[in-house]
Each structure stands twice: as C-alpha cells, then as structure tokens.
C-alpha cells in the first residue's frame, strides 16, 4: 500500500515541477524591481510606463480571465477591463505588494462579478432574438480553431464550479500560488481557501465520475 501511495504522490510531484515553468512566468528579482519602477512612474501619470505593465502582464491576466470565463472574446474584454480598472486605481496600489498579485486580484474579482451577473442576467437588450441568433450563427475561423479548447474536458469541469471555487482553483494550478497568496489575491482567509480547494476537488471528482 505504501508503495502505491508513494508512487501516486511521486507522479504528482513530477507533474507539479513540469508546470512550474509556464505558470510562474519567470519573475526574477530584476523584473520585480523594473515593475516597481514602472508602477511608480505610472502612478505619477506616465502612461507609457503603464503600457509597459500591460505588455508585461497581458498574458497572465488574459489567461486568468480565459480560465475563469472560458471564452476568448470574453477573456479579451475582461483582461482589458482589468487593466482599465488598474489604471484608474493606480493611486491605491501599494508598492509593498507584488504587482502581479495586485493585477490578478483585480482580474479575479472582475471575473467573479461578471460570472455572477451572467448567472442572474435577464434577457439583454443588445442580445439577438433566438431566431436571428440561430440564422446568424456561422462558424467563424477562430471559433473552429478553438473548438478543441472549448470542448476541453478541464474547461467543462471548471464550468461546473462556483465562481469563488473556480478562482481559487485557477490561481492554485495555473499560478501555483500558496494558500496565503490565494487568500491575499481573493481577499479572504486561508481557511476559506483551504475549504474552497477541498470542495472544488470534491465537486470536480464527482463531475468526472458523472461524465
């Protein structure tokens, strides 16, 4: 039995190391120092410095939005909105905090709000009537290219989770954040994060079984 368990844990450790390269985004101390310089310059009104921040963090922010919302168009919109919010809130940014953590926090909250609104949203004025929507539904080239992504098992699984659980899961797996970091990003307690991740795994395991 011990062998089996050790093997299981070992495979998990190996996989964890394999993802570290992509999720951590290779943030070196030099980069962090550079980001602080940009952040301070942006706080003083230097919009070029802010564009450097956007350029540096477009991918992690977009990735978070994409994993949360599950749609490329929505992810683009949410990522841009995240940076707009960051721009308007620049004065409140505390240099003691990691810039990436601050941006991801804004993105997480925005996506959670967006998903909640979507859940309770009634028929929108700018939505096409059903018959027109069906008639206009042509397969776009980009849609075809992303079909495999959309039908990705993991995406479908993530969709089954409540917004808060999904955010904690994405931050844990795609950004390899610790419980403390996730709690700081989502502005909640460590015990809440522990519980969310546990419940998320339980729900995902149940979803896998029903698939």
């Amino acid at each position: 039995m011990n062998n089996t368990l050790t093997f299981g844990q070992q495979s998990f450790m190996n996989s964890s190391v394999a993802t570290k390269q992509t999720a951590e985004q290779h943030v070196t101390p030099e980069m962090q120092a550079q980001e602080q310089v940009w952040a301070m310059a942006a706080q003083k009104g230097d919009s070029a410095a802010f564009m450097n921040i956007v350029d540096a963090y477009q991918r992690p922010v977009y990735n978070l939005c994409y994993r949360m919302l599950g749609d490329t168009t929505e992810a683009e919109d949410a990522a841009q909105e995240t940076f707009l919010r960051a721009y308007t809130k620049l004065k409140t940014y505390n240099a003691d905090r990691k810039l990436s953590s601050w941006l991801l926090s804004i993105a997480s909250h925005y996506c959670i709000d967006r998903l909640r609104k979507k859940r309770y949203q009634m028929v929108s004025w700018d939505e096409l009537p059903p018959w027109q929507a069906v008639a206009d539904k042509k397969p776009q080239p980009e849609e075809a290219a992303l079909t495999h992504e959309r039908h990705d098992t993991v995406h479908q699984l993530l969709d089954t989770l409540p917004e808060d659980y999904r955010a904690a899961t994405v931050l844990r797996y795609w950004y390899e954040m610790s419980y403390d970091e996730i709690a700081e990003t989502l502005e909640t307690s460590v015990s809440a994060i522990k519980s969310r991740l546990f419940r998320a795994r339980q729900m995902l395991a149940e979803a896998v079984e029903t698939q």
Partner: protein, 192 residues
Amino acid sequence: MMNDKYTEKISEWFDNELNPDEVAELQAHLAGCSTCRQTYESMQHVHTLLLGAAAHVAAPDQGFVQRFESRLTWRQAHKPWHIWVALGALLVGTLLFWSAWAISGGLLLVNAGGSALDANVLYQGVMIIFESAASLRTFVNICLLLWKTGLFLISQPLIWLLIITSVCATWLWLRILQLLSRRPAKSIELTL
C-alpha cells in the same frame, strides 16, 4: 471508514501543505481505509487533469496593448460626457421622484378636510413620535399614520402615475447610461 478530517487532508497533501508527520498519519489512514483511498484516487485523477491543463497558458491575440491603448483613449475621451449624462439622469430622476411626493403632499393638504386623512392626524402623529418615542403607543400610532397615508396615496391615481413615471424614467436613464458605458464601438477596434 471515511472521515472528513482525512479527506480534507488529502486535498492539503496535493497542495504540499502538510508536514511530514501529517503525511505519515494520512498515509497510515489511507492504508486501512478503502473509502478514503477511493477519494484519494478520484482527487488524484482531477489533480492530474488540472496539472496537465495548467501547462498551457492562454495568450491574447497579437496587438493586445494597442487595443487596450485605443480603449483607454476612448474611455478617457468619453468620460466627461458620461459624467454629465449620469448627473443629468440623476437630476431628472430625483426631480421626478420628489415632484411626485411634493404633489402628493399638496393633495394631502387640499384634501385635509376629507375623510382619508386629516392634517391634524398627521401633526398629532408626528408630535406623538417626539413625545413618547419608546412607547408601544408610538409604534401603533406610527403604523396607523403610515396606514392612513398609504390609503390616501392609493386613492390618488395621479400620485401613482407620477411615482411610476419617475421610477421608469430613472430606470431608463440608468439603462441608457449602462449601454453607453460599454466597450467602444467595433469600428474603433477595426481601425487598429
């Protein structure tokens, strides 16, 4: 026998949040508990799936920064206009809302001698509130006062019309504002 304490520990184990003693305890428990072992295996499967998916970091299409710059410029250019629309909507909504109440007050005075509500009752009610704020009688009187006011208002279709109109006007303005504050028109993006 499955134990919530251990199933939670399994989750923490995946996150490397257990110390060696806790890991040893969990492993010993898993060795003798088939239900927890099953939970471990199903969670392990999910964990592996997620780790595999996390290897792929999605990236936006080329030109994200330029699109953002354009959007920021658009937002900044339209900001003052939005403020004026918001203030206008607020002003119109507030004026309509309070005018409804002002007219209702006027009608109240006009009908003071009527059967629905006497102005003296209103005055007495207010005085009672100040004189014996904590007493049950006050509470009953307040309820009575509200009840009578309500009855009076219900009996006045004009007041209802004004209230409904003001609420609808406010809602419409807010809705227009919401639509206008959305992302810039597609033509802006297409020019990039």
